[in-house]
Symmetry: C2
Amino acid sequence: MGMNYEKINEWILAEDCFEPAWLGKCEAVMAQGNGYLGLRAAAEERYVGETRNLLINGTFNKFDADEVTELPNAADVTAIELWIDGQRFNLVEGSHEGYRRELNIKTGELIRTVHWTAPNGKKVKIIFQRIVSLKRLHDIGLKITVEAEGNPIKLKIRSGIDARVSNTGSQHFSEVEKRFYDKKYLQFVERTTQSKIDFVLNAVHSFEKNGKQVLLGTDVNIERRYLYADYNVELEAEETFVIEKLVNVQTTRDFDAAGLNTDELQKKSLEDLKALENIGYDDLMEESALEWQKEIWDNAPVMIKGDKESEFDLFALRYAQYQMRIFLPKHDNRMNIGAKGLSGEGYRGHCFWDTEIFLLPYYMFTDPDAARKLEEYRYLSLPGAHRKAKENGYKGAMFPWESAWLDDGETCPLYMDVDIVTGKPIKVWSGIIEQHISADVAFGAWQYGIITGDTDFMEKYGYELIMDTAIFWGSRLEPGDDGRYHINDVVGPDEYHEHVNDNAFTNYMAAWNLGKAIEYYEMLKNDKPELFACLNQKLNLDENYLIWKDSVERIFLPQPTEEGILPMDDRFMKGQYIDLTKYKQQDFVGGIMKDYNLDQIQNIQVCKQADCLVLFYLMEERFSPEVKRASWDYYVERTLHDSSLSLSTHSVQAADMGDDEMAYDLFRKAATIDLGPYMGTSNAGIHAASFGGVWQCVVYGFGGVRMLNGKLRINPRLPKNWDELTFTLYWKGEKLSVTVTKDKVDVQNQTGNRKVDLSVNGEELKV
Amino acid sequence: MGMNYEKINEWILAEDCFEPAWLGKCEAVMAQGNGYLGLRAAAEERYVGETRNLLINGTFNKFDADEVTELPNAADVTAIELWIDGQRFNLVEGSHEGYRRELNIKTGELIRTVHWTAPNGKKVKIIFQRIVSLKRLHDIGLKITVEAEGNPIKLKIRSGIDARVSNTGSQHFSEVEKRFYDKKYLQFVERTTQSKIDFVLNAVHSFEKNGKQVLLGTDVNIERRYLYADYNVELEAEETFVIEKLVNVQTTRDFDAAGLNTDELQKKSLEDLKALENIGYDDLMEESALEWQKEIWDNAPVMIKGDKESEFDLFALRYAQYQMRIFLPKHDNRMNIGAKGLSGEGYRGHCFWDTEIFLLPYYMFTDPDAARKLEEYRYLSLPGAHRKAKENGYKGAMFPWESAWLDDGETCPLYMDVDIVTGKPIKVWSGIIEQHISADVAFGAWQYGIITGDTDFMEKYGYELIMDTAIFWGSRLEPGDDGRYHINDVVGPDEYHEHVNDNAFTNYMAAWNLGKAIEYYEMLKNDKPELFACLNQKLNLDENYLIWKDSVERIFLPQPTEEGILPMDDRFMKGQYIDLTKYKQQDFVGGIMKDYNLDQIQNIQVCKQADCLVLFYLMEERFSPEVKRASWDYYVERTLHDSSLSLSTHSVQAADMGDDEMAYDLFRKAATIDLGPYMGTSNAGIHAASFGGVWQCVVYGFGGVRMLNGKLRINPRLPKNWDELTFTLYWKGEKLSVTVTKDKVDVQNQTGNRKVDLSVNGEELKV
């Protein structure tokens, strides 16, 4: 049952049976999008337990004073109900065969086919097709082909724009206008309640009978938050009827709606819809598929050759590319990537350190322009970071743990889940004390600058980001009785331990941030005096430089124990050791929270996710192989991977250490976070960062790619069932194609504008 | 299929088959309540198309500035999902037999029984019971009995408090608190967003296995707007497992929560829940059934004896009594009766003229205290009526067409449905120009005062209501060129004609209102000088008296044509005559709006509902039998009964005219507005006023009861298939029991405090 991986080919994610309990999973993993909008793959017909989501990136709204801003769920356009001789088509009633749902990641098309016998015995074959255009960011197409199988049928169709949806009950929209034009074009206008963004949705239907366009009488209806049309048609046996529904959605937040008022946007979007109507579903689909080809498959091709098993690996890698494109807001630097992409309401569309640490590498190496936009977003959201610092009594840029619209500041909710001891919701401390995010942002900007060689970015945004976060760290350090500076009362990447002191990841990253600011201060002062003067005035660099120097000298950096284990904080290693086997075997995450509350977990040696290991990975040369190995042995045993960010970090680390089987095993686990058989885990949306993780497992782990000291290194170690791995990398503007076999690494410079220095398996090359 | 009336007994409304397309109908007609709260009969398990409603009377909230206040849909407590060996119990999947759902209107209990075979072949028998206590207004009980039929089963139960519900997408609540106490008691606190009313909901579960109480491990969960517990148990073949869920809901608007803050209400309601837990489902149910017996069936017994057909008539009459109790806010004079009672979101919980014209008679004659509260509500909402008058440039009390919370003023929405010509929503003019409501309110107060003899009410509220509305009419009349006063630009009861002048109903009622104010002015001045002085000061009576005298003398009252037809306004009879057969035969209302828009209908001789006929009925002696007959013949042909208020008016009128078969036929139609076979018509809720209509058909129509010139008249005409009709009437504090047979009318004074004058078939009696 469920998704059948054996039948996966290079490009198709398919399910062969319909299981109502698994709706959420398939809605999420088969979601479509283009970075502007994300559309869950909820079926055209309704089911109990479904979640219909249409999310438009960046359109954050706050339901009430006690909630945080989130991406509001726009009116649904995908529900199309069909009645066959009065029986509502759905796969729970009647019987069906030949069911298959396929997401073609090469073209972006979602196709569902089924032969249905209604409870009254009538038979039909129905094919559903759906596309979110990668070329036309506002446009969605749906196509339904109904064939009367061996009997005449009376077909009733109900389709419209349905704004009765909400975000798990929170309604973010007021109705503005809903109407028909010419009994044909449906238009719905809704406005977010707090951020006052207008959404205009338009839809039009057209019909073909036996291949010829037909007009049907329209029964138009307007209800509260709902606008729809009913159509009726009769088919003789074997006749075929095609319904096309073309939809667009535009908002007053869009760059391409800048300056338009609601009325003007209504007019413009209606005209756009009429143009779309002329294109039709098939051409919309073709055009979008070409865009996929050009932008992804030709631009960043990957190939894995090997045994049967490796076919899934290739698919998983390409699927990661598919995902990383559908939630990427390439069109707008005012938005970023939510932890669930645009595939669900989980984490409310907020972005985390996931962007810099897990996703940015893929974009930097394959689509530098897109990567730059993600970092520009951080720069544009500095006002919120300044406010957060001020509110917490610090200086500089203290980035929000959860980030939404530019000036929203911290949007991490204060409570979640249930404390099994008190019966109350658990307080979430991350928004207040998970502070490494500021260093992560700086790290991302630095990485981007080095790998792309984009000095324009560094001069406009990058240096400032690194220095402004360093100012935060300068103000954040606390002098201890030992004469050292400490960072007390934080949450590190491992969120099972709160209010810890001197979290290794946090302290080392802060020290790195301070050091990098010092380095750039000195460089800019010498090499770019004008820019320096400008930044000096803005950030008071001369004074902060002294603070940085002092800080970096005296910051406390946890040191490995005698056994070579890096203590992740001042408390963890003193905690109680317990047997975690039970939780490691559970088919859901967070199971330990059903037995212990967070207060109790504080004193247990259990990690939600990698902590020190992320540090080893980001600062590969900072720690000795012995420390890495000893720490690995210690932490792996104590880690539940209750965060989707954990597995890929471990996989890359295992590859680095030469534990090939372990690396491959962890890669497979990382690759099946969403694609795997656990059917509840993706309900709230896919795990965006995990796709960056999959790419990192392959390219950083097996491909051995790393930026070290500003230089490209490639030390590949293929899994034993792979014969060949091919991928591409942009490096300082040059595009390299890398092919790795068991005994050879071939690097081609495809652009060839200038030579690239790199080290391959220890050998220095120019390509 | 559907509800099987042949199997109806005196007290049971039953359905024998489950049809997913008819969910809404059964949810509404089998709803339960107690006037404080109303609970739709949505099944414990979820279905596509269900509407789960828990409405607490009077708790109005406004979603945004463009919406009107409405009764918010409180968190759902009825959803209880069961899994049998992993298969979610629901009647769309697997197979079932022996399905039966019964609403016992005598006890108020809802019972559903089914034998279910899961898709995996496991068999269970499940009985669902549910009660809303008539005695304990805050309390709800659910009981589920699961029997493993011939096989062992693993049963999983999920039950909680689910605040993800909304009003058709509009969310009226913010979350305040959600938590468990002792892993056992669930508490959810939510607050309306604008009116800031706190709702506290508590729930507790208990379990019995084979008749013995058992404790189950609880898996507690808190999600956004959702608090729930999971339980698991294994049953051997033939074992029986009982789940009891006891729930209470209290709000800071409640009289019995006066002065409590949220925290105190949480404590109090939790203590109340613990007390309820000790009572248990069975006793809660017994106690409530006794209350039904005492309050309704002993207090206001009815009996119809006759042929087989008349059994339904008796049921329909009692069902009307059931309905008129479950939506009656007897406990609180700050609220009234919504057009859909508390059984759905339709008309947003607002009350209309329905209260005075259609429902008040039943309450006045059977429960005068409750009737008084309904009229006190109008008095308490005078501030809104004054504001509406002022906003429209008038004086006195201009009552809102749609009334919600006391100071909400007019709450009629501005737009609804779709104009089939323009494609836009239709502007609703009733809130602005359907003005007869002010006279209707005065009429209700007057009727109540006369029939109950409640002088305390009249002195405190009644006279003032009548005079304050008369002041409105005095300011409303417009002098015409003809030297008469006109009321131009109104909507009469027949809402298919807007912006008409001199609507007969409106003008006659206004004249009546003015006349009654004059009468009371003179009476009070002579008989109750202190009260007069007080009212005179408050309402400036002396000055208004002169206006009233002038008004009543010169107001234009439409006169019958030569043919004896009373023109309903200045335009209708000039309209185009069209064949309405098509619309009369449709199984839904409002069908004409699919062919004509309102602009077009203005010029067509078509009535949505009775207009002049309501006038004949309220002012029986004002018009000659010839005028009534001629007008009847004229209007009936042109009336679509597209309002549920229409049929009973016609039935009573037909009975008055001696058209016995017509009267009976219309009564049956009125009785099946909700109970009938049209499955979509009650989805948004039952038709509250129609139940008053049913009672009026029987008691006013066939019973021939009327208050005429302050005196009770009984002129019965039984339908030919009835042999005997018994009902009771309160008349000025005395309780009369009336038994009508074909040749005899027996009236007994059951209280016997003093003699009652009445006229029976023209004979004057003292009883």
